[in-house]
């Protein structure tokens, strides 16, 4: 065949022996950078947009408080008012101090002042519940907070 002849005389085919190595490298990168979702949210949290945002630096020092309206399949049990979710279960405003205590126990004593509480609040929630949470956090001296937001486009 004419086709074969040409090839035999031309450049040798590129070796694909290193392909698995390359793919493995990519694989390890994604394995390391993957964060599996730890908690199943029972509420809808769609955080508002902001432009002047800062990244949260150490993820291990952050504890999350989610606030939002229960998802549709939970509405029969939990109603349609915005609720607080700490870790896996829907909680009450009074559970926050306990939750912060628990988070503190997981860390060294000298890390405690660096602990940040990230408030992931749905944009449709009202400030009433947020104010309650803030008051509760003040009571237990968890003063570093972060209002979680998405990156928005700066208006000119």
């Amino acid at each position: 065949m004419q086709f074969r002849k040409k090839k035999a005389g031309g450049t040798p085919p590129i070796s694909t022996a290193s392909l698995p190595d390359i793919v493995f490298m990519l694989l390890f990168f994604f394995m390391v950078s993957t964060t599996m979702r730890e908690t199943d949210l029972k509420i809808k949290v769609h955080v508002p947009e902001a432009t002047e945002i800062k990244k949260l630096e150490k993820k291990s020092l952050v504890s999350y408080i989610n606030v939002g309206i229960p998802l549709e399949n939970f509405r029969d049990i939990y109603g349609t008012e915005p609720r607080i979710q700490l870790n896996d279960k829907l909680s009450d405003i009074n559970d926050i101090s306990g939750f912060i205590e628990m988070e503190r126990k997981k860390h060294d004593e000298n890390e405690i002042p660096k602990l940040t509480t990230s408030l992931k609040v749905d944009e449709e929630a009202k400030m009433g519940i947020v104010t309650d949470i803030k008051q509760e956090l003040r009571k237990v001296q968890a003063l570093k907070i972060n209002y979680s937001t998405r990156k928005g486009v700066k208006r000119e």
Binding site: T16, L19, P20, V23, F24, L26, L27, F30, M31, S33, T34, T35, M36, R37, V47, P48, E49, A50, T51, E52, I53, K54, K55, L56, K59, V62, T116, S118, L119, V121, D122, E123, E124, A125, K126, M127, G128, V130, T131, K134, Q135, L137, R138, K139, Q141, A142, L143, K144, I145, N146, Y147, S148, T149, K151, G152, K154, R155
Partner: protein, 213 residues
């Protein structure tokens, strides 16, 4: 060519297996970096009168209200969120030396006051700042007081917070551009600290109460 002694394992399908895993992790990866507006809450309110912080003069407070219908009022006047940033910047810098806007003595004046009051720490601090920024930089005592109703929507609240932060960020950018020729975010940690001393993020979130219920 004779037969080989040991048979090699065929590694041809290795790539396929790795690809399969790769695609799995690609799909499950969520690369969301958590970001947001960082804020420091005030410590719990002291019970005794004696522990109250010294009162701030009225001209140094810019009152920003958001009511339950998400309307914004600055110093009692209805306001549009879009204009809030400029208002805050004018309030803090007080370029025309308005008596109703914030106190904005220059660094040199502040140091003189500190010397007169015999506050050694302050004198030291202002001397250090003058070395960096020059004596004619004005330092504001202005504080933005943000008050909201329980019925205010979180979206509106964040929008206002964002405007306030961006006002302070712009002021810092202007100052660092002027002094160091760089943007605030590109400065070294120490220089950022100095700029922050001139323009601290003075936003106070009031004790909760119902306004415009």
């Amino acid at each position: 060519m004779g037969k080989r002694q040991t048979q090699e394992i065929n590694a041809g399908s290795m790539a396929d297996i790795a690809f399969l895993l790769l695609i799995f992790f690609l799909v499950t990866t969520t690369m969301d970096v958590d970001s947001g507006l960082s804020r420091q809450l005030p410590p719990p309110a002291p019970d005794e009168e004696a522990d109250q912080p010294p009162p701030i003069r009225e001209r140094n407070v810019l009152i920003v209200l958001i009511n339950k219908d998400n309307q914004l009022a600055v110093e009692g006047e209805l306001f549009n969120v879009v204009n809030l940033m400029d208002k805050v910047k004018i309030f803090v810098t007080n370029p025309r030396n308005d008596k109703d806007l914030s106190d904005n003595n220059t660094l040199a004046e502040r140091r003189d006051i500190a010397i007169a009051d015999n506050k050694e720490n302050d004198v030291h601090r202002y001397t250090r700042l003058i070395k960096v920024f020059g004596s004619s930089i004005r330092v504001s005592k202005g504080v933005v007081s943000l008050q909201n109703d329980r019925g205010t929507s979180y979206k509106m609240y964040i929008a206002v917070q964002n405007e306030l932060v961006s006002a302070f960020n712009e002021l810092r950018d202007e100052l660092s551009q002027q002094t160091f020729g760089k943007k605030y975010n590109d400065l070294s940690e120490d220089s950022q600290k100095l700029v922050r001393e001139i323009y601290p993020l003075s936003i106070s979130e009031a004790e909760p109460r119902n306004i415009g219920g």
